[in-house]
Symmetry: C2
Subunit: 449 residues, 2 copies
């Protein structure tokens, strides 16, 4: 896992000071399982995550019913183990008022819980059991197929979700990151219990497992609890001692599959996203990208918000975003507006992207963006969810952990020239437009070359 980046694998234990009074510790078990924790003094609760470094991009399009199997599996892990029924699992968390859920992403799957400090050992044990010892009962499998089809239907009824899925495919073409995370109704209908079982056994293994926790956490107690939970399931070793890199961090060559993609629907708004290839997660310009995104569409004082909403009243929701993965990324600009204004809004957003490339940012904008990002980072660390996620993403996606001080140091190094240079780079990349609503391709004719 990620041996392509410089992780100190093999170190038995690594401790270093993190932001404020918190302390981050990292342990690697003999099996290769990695455990990271951040103790926050004064906290009475903890957030725990079991991260598996497998996501929708790791599915094989060639296998029928494979697409969506990572997400299907995530659902099934809640449906019972050799010693716990689905109801037992639900009751464990409900009866202590804990939050308990999971998310499937393109490059990882995360099972998490937020509980009071006294309930952390329970959460470690129950999620450990779910992850290692799920039975994938055939009857539960069929019931859950129905649940997942309803989840896909719900997403299909959300026009912004649909626009986003289509945009990724348009920008990234046939790259595996371009596929929707949950699969498609036909692949979910075709999925077999045996295929999902094989996916489970092949991908859920010690070397791909990262456990992170933040808040009222004692690292040694956490490590002992994880070991108990994993050892009980025979997860105390991994066949392959030396982890192999699952993924490359070298930017892939992506080929846009469409310049314009529209889904016509009889709804009130046109949901428009302009997208282009972004930067990879480990790109050294990632801090510059945060600044650029803050200036372009990151808040109420951003250029998109001011030009599209404040000055012209054309949209309620308008913003930009950057999505980065191991070997590809997408940069996007979103607006929801009246279909009759779709072309005007798209032109305005494209113009702002080019204005940033041609004219750069002002020192005042840079100062404001740095303030926004540093203040936001400090605020986010007030809750243990953010700290838990930060540890997981650092280990799975970045291969390094930067504490608040280090993040702020990098942020203050960004110059107006850095931002303009990145904007110029982005502005000459091939652009796609995805739109859902009362619009067709002709609305965007000539806007995208």
């Amino acid at each position: 896992m990620n041996s392509a980046v410089d992780l100190p694998l093999g170190l038995a234990d690594l401790a270093f000071a993190a932001s404020g009074d918190a302390l981050v510790r990292r342990t690697i078990l003999p099996s290769g399982v990695r455990i990271l924790s951040e103790h926050v003094p004064g906290s009475r609760s903890a957030t725990l995550g079991y991260w598996v470094a497998v996501g929708s991009r790791d599915e094989t399009e060639a296998v029928p019913g494979s697409l969506g199997s990572t997400h299907f599996l995530e659902h099934l892990l809640f449906k019972g183990t050799g010693t716990r029924t689905a109801l037992d699992i639900a009751v464990s968390f409900d009866s202590v008022g804990g939050e308990h859920n999971a998310m499937t992403a393109k490059e990882y799957t995360c099972y998490y819980a937020k509980v009071q400090d006294r309930d952390l050992p329970m959460a470690v044990e129950v999620i450990g059991d779910m992850l290692t010892s799920s039975v994938l009962d055939p009857t539960e499998f069929e019931n859950e197929r129905g649940v997942i089809l309803e989840e896909l239907s719900m997403a299909e009824d959300d026009p912004a979700d649909v626009a986003n899925d289509r945009l990724f495919t348009a920008v990234l073409g046939d790259h595996p990151l371009g596929r929707p995370i949950g699969g498609r109704p036909e692949t979910i209908r075709a999925a077999s219990r045996d295929a999902v079982w094989r996916h489970y056994r092949a991908n859920y293994r010690p070397r791909d497992l990262v456990i992170t926790a933040a808040g009222a956490v004692d690292h040694d107690v956490l490590v002992a609890g994880v070991q108990r939970a994993l050892d009980a399931a025979g997860w105390d070793r991994d066949e392959e001692a030396a982890p192999v890199a699952r993924r490359s961090t070298t930017p892939a060559t992506v080929q846009r599959s469409a310049g314009v993609v529209t889904v016509q629907r009889p709804i009130e708004q046109a949901n428009i996203i302009i997208g282009l290839p972004g930067i990879v997660a480990t790109d050294e310009r990632r801090t510059t990208m945060s600044v650029l995104n803050s200036v372009l569409g990151g808040g109420m004082s951003s250029r998109l918000f001011q030009e599209v909403r404040e000055k012209r009243g054309l949209a309620y929701s308008v913003y930009s975003f950057s999505g980065s993965y191991s070997d590809a990324g997408v940069y996007g600009l979103f607006a929801g507006c009246a279909p009759a204004k779709a072309r005007q809004v798209t032109e305005l957003m494209l113009a702002e992207l080019h204005r940033l490339a041609d004219g750069g940012v002002t020192p005042e904008e840079l100062r404001r963006a740095v303030g926004q990002l540093s203040g936001g980072a400090a605020l986010a660390l007030e809750d243990s969810d953010t700290r838990m996620s930060r540890l997981g993403r650092a280990e799975i996606s970045l291969g390094e952990f930067a504490d608040l001080d280090e993040s702020l140091r990098r942020l203050h190094l960004v110059t107006v020239d850095d931002v303009q240079e990145l904007a110029r780079d982005l502005a000459q990349r091939p652009v796609s437009v995805s739109a859902v609503g009362g619009v067709d391709d002709d609305v965007f004719a000539g806007l995208v070359s």
Copy 2:
């Protein structure tokens, strides 16, 4: 203003211990403005709210363009004062990475910000200025009309939102709480700057203003800051010294306007809500209601989740909710499912409501619900947003503040008989069904008498 409930108005200052180490203090200024704060030791951030006790229910249907004017006004307060432009306001918060927003509800409007401790004085000053000294510039007014129409369009494209709005009207008939918060496109198009200005001057006044803050807050500094901000705008006194009750807390007689209401749309899911008159905010059975709702549809182990999703795979999202206001409330059961299953799912949900009334809850279910609610309450207090909101709702809606210990004491007094008695009461109230999707009224024929 809630003087109908037992608020210790007139006390200059009231301090009492709150949950954990936190301390709640309350001050009433000579003008009648109320200020509540909860200091949380160790916190480095604060959440601040300016609450005005006016909501959509306080609009007058008879005045053209009145419906939605509370929400319209909320937007306009971000658009500039005598000394700050809209951009100035946005920059104030963006440049320190603060969160800054507002919400309009049926019985209040709240302007809030979450900032680092050092930025709290700025937040107190800027929101105070927005609230007292907005200019409602005519050009900004026209731009914002467009923004609000887009916000309504976005909500109209969300089938669950539409089902919820229709349900409230079906259950509460022509009671003002039955109206949608944002108004309707035609009332927003008809709204005039002068009418919104009159609404502003009539309803934004010291006696209806409550300021709450939680986290890294020094009460005396907060009070001094608020006074500075309000005095500068001449808000140091209120014409009416003795506050009059804005609202009654006696349950109103509501008359259902429809048994079944459907909005046919060519979408994947049917979004179904079963609703009936609920309890008022000050009802002494409100803790029993929380328990009942937890058992029926409050988590993964709840009856609705188990029967509709886990056993049959008919829905992804299924839950129940209780909405309580000063003189009326709505209790609801929601599911999103395939249109072909809409009748079956509705029957299942109704059956669970009646099973609760007929058979009550088991001691095990009661124990689990108490655990869920008490654990959830403890977890929620980890962030200052929840504490800030709790203070505001206590002051505006409940007229009393119950700390965690008192809430837990009440929770442990709830018996299985209490829950069954409330379930019986609810089950004999007139039921309405609201559905949006590929269904028509016939689907629900005979289910609602």
